[in-house]
């Protein structure tokens, strides 16, 4: 499958291991990535808060570039926040031909046009809806047996449900659990799976922001999770990078590793933890998961596993 690939900003900036691990596993899933390296930041809701037309125009430019990418079936992103921010703009662009024409007028100077009908899916949605869980399961070479994984979605990819196309036929707010199981892992239920990591207010109300991160991490610890998995690099910043500060705010040790979705998939596909950049996290998954006894551990030493 050939997709117009939008990696986003943070996946190449402060969480480079996300873009890196996606690039590593794409060939193993027969996904051909046509990178949209001319596209701009989605605005993460902040540009839309400043001026909706500006966010709509920037993202219409991205959509237009994706529609130009030859032979691609759809556009794929690897960031919950990109998904939500772009879906919001796309909803406005698709709602009115008159408004769309106004936006396209601005894009015309550079020879670009956005037409309705572009499908933009997060890697998570693509795994379940385009590839299918059975196909994913068939590609697993090292099932994540005995690994207890807590899903952490990120707000932008689960709400509002109508905008994001979540319904009985597309339970996109349950896909992480389905993917964890398809990879052979065990889903850990805990209170925070669909809650907010707190990142958007880290500069405005740091205490409340870290309390959110700390509370959800703590809930996952109490529920017995070995690690969390998230499709959102911004959540990753608050849950992993800021975890030492969150520990201080909530007054308890957490030590909860947080994996990017492509990293978790990569482990099950037999890619080594270091190739997936797991050693780059602030909370090292290698120090928490017992890599010597768990089946996942064999990934670190493929020769031992045969």
């Amino acid at each position: 499958m050939k997709v117009a690939y939008w990696p986003g900003c943070v996946s190449r900036g402060f969480t480079p291991e996300l873009h890196g691990s996606m690039a590593k596993i794409a060939p193993l899933l027969d996904i051909e990535l046509v990178a949209l390296d001319r596209a701009s930041c989605c605005g993460a809701g902040v540009i839309a808060e400043h001026n909706p037309e500006l966010a709509d125009t920037l993202n219409a430019r991205t959509f237009a570039l994706a529609q130009q990418a030859e032979g691609t079936a759809l556009m794929m992103n690897i960031c919950s926040t990109c998904q939500g921010a772009q879906s919001e703009c796309q909803e406005r662009l698709d709602a009115s031909a008159e408004y769309r024409a106004k936006i396209n007028e601005t894009l015309a100077a550079d020879g670009l046009t956005y037409e309705t009908g572009l499908s933009n899916k997060n890697f998570l949605w693509l795994l379940v809806e385009e590839m299918g869980l059975d196909e994913l399961r068939s590609r697993v070479v090292r099932p994540l047996t005995d690994l207890r994984v807590g899903p952490f979605y990120g707000c932008y990819i689960v709400r509002p449900v109508t905008r994001l196309g979540i319904d009985d036929a597309h339970p996109r707010d349950a896909y992480l659990g389905q993917v964890i199981e398809a990879l052979g892992g065990t889903v850990t239920d805990y209170a925070g799976a669909h809650k907010c990591c707190g990142f958007p207010i880290i500069t405005m109300n740091k205490d409340a922001s870290l309390k959110q991160a700390g509370r959800h991490l703590g809930d996952a610890v109490d529920a017995g999770a070995d690690c969390l998995v998230t499709p959102c690099p911004l959540c990753h910043l608050n849950l992993d990078l800021q975890q030492p500060l969150a520990e201080r705010v909530v007054g308890r040790d957490l030590g909860m590793p947080v994996l990017h979705l492509p990293q978790l998939v990569g482990l099950a596909l037999g890619v080594s933890p270091s190739e997936l950049g797991l050693q780059r996290h602030v909370v090292k998954p290698t120090s928490v998961i017992d890599w010597t006894t768990s089946v996942v551990g064999e990934v670190g030493a493929p020769s031992a596993g045969g």
Partner: protein, 354 residues
């Protein structure tokens, strides 16, 4: 007639016992409401079940509860729908969150919700001079505020607000939507004062964590978060209010960094959110203090090569030609005499018009 099982959360503060679950079987047609189910259990099994209700038609806002973990009006939820979305075939009903429980399914709206509503001066302060006859206002402006006027004060959004969960002082979605009802009303005289008050409050408009919970919670389509974002837009852009919470600075820094690089430069965003939208921001005392307190996290990230010095000092950016395109888009859009705000609530969708 069909049989349904309700699992109700019971709590009586006078008993001294902790809250507990209790199951009741009821017989009603599937299209009847969860509220009717609760009332049947109350009439048939146990008169002491506490539930607040009045109109039974989704207008009075009295019967807000959590059904299967999500806030809604008990009178606005069909039994078959609730059963379908339960985890085990039993419809689970509990009191709303973020507010103290008085008894069973009844929460103390006064202690939280109404206090916050009063906090935002929830009445019109007439623009002076008051015209002899009526105010003449644009139709769109009135259609616009009808969205927040649709609020029935049920508290569903307050119940599941994720900011309030960690910061009970947050003014919250319902009250801030109410604030927009007056800030968006051309007849109100105190737009600037209202916005300054809400921007400067450490628990005001910039305390919203943008999680969309209130949008999905609201049974009336008020979309409180969207109203909060518009309060921010008006405060930061139109009234140029530089708040003490870094709200305006954060937004300005984000917007200008993307204009400059085409992509987000995270290493610059943090200092500029504290010190202002300039490359020198990191040397300002407010930013320096913040960066120092974050030093353990930054040091660890550098150590693990999660964040490389290159990412900090040589940020990723688009190719020059693409940066020029992005910049031109900025100049076109921001150069307009009046900001274009396409609002689906006001304009509707093409497919709705045909």
């Amino acid at each position: 007639m069909a049989e349904f099982t309700l699992r109700l959360r019971r709590y009586d503060p006078e008993s001294g016992d902790a809250a507990y679950w209790e199951e009741h079987t009821i017989d009603l047609e599937p299209h009847r409401s969860v509220l009717e189910g609760i009332l049947q259990a109350k009439n048939r099994d146990d008169g002491s079940i506490g539930i607040r209700c009045s109109c039974r038609a989704a207008i009075c806002g009295s019967c807000g509860v959590r059904i299967n973990g999500r806030p809604d009006l008990a009178c606005h939820t069909h039994l078959d729908h609730a059963k379908k979305h339960s985890s085990d075939g039993v419809i689970e009903v509990e009191p709303m969150g973020n507010m103290p429980v008085i008894k069973d399914l009844i929460v103390d709206m006064e202690a939280v919700h109404w206090k916050k509503i009063r906090r935002v001066t929830p009445w019109l302060i007439p623009k002076q001079p008051v015209p002899e006859r009526e105010y003449v206002v644009p139709r769109e402006a009135m259609v616009d505020v009808t969205q927040s006027m649709a609020c029935i004060q049920c508290g569903a959004c307050v119940s599941d607000c994720l900011s309030m969960e960690v910061d009970p002082e947050f003014i919250g979605p319902a009250a801030l939507a109410k604030a927009y009802r007056f800030v968006g009303d051309p007849r109100d005289d105190q737009h600037f004062e209202r916005l300054q008050d809400l921007a400067e409050d450490p628990h005001g408009i910039y305390d919203c964590t943008h999680c969309f919970q209130c949008i999905d919670a609201c049974p009336k389509g008020v979309a409180p978060m969207s109203q909060i974002m518009r309060l921010r837009r008006l405060a930061g852009n139109d009234f140029a209010i530089e708040d003490r919470n870094n709200g305006e600075r954060h937004e300005a820094a984000f917007v200008s960094l993307v204009k400059q690089y085409g992509l987000l430069n995270e290493a610059e965003l943090l200092p500029r959110s504290y010190g202002g939208d300039t490359p020198l921001a990191k040397f300002k005392p407010s930013a320096a203090a913040e960066l120092t307190s974050s030093l353990p996290a930054i040091a660890k990230a550098l150590l693990r090569r999660k964040v490389t010095p290159a990412a900090v000092f040589k940020p990723h950016k688009l190719a020059p030609a693409d940066r020029a395109e992005v910049k031109r888009i900025y100049e076109t859009v921001e150069g307009r005499d009046e900001r274009v705000e396409f609002n689906i609530y006001i304009s509707g969708r093409d497919e709705d018009l045909t």
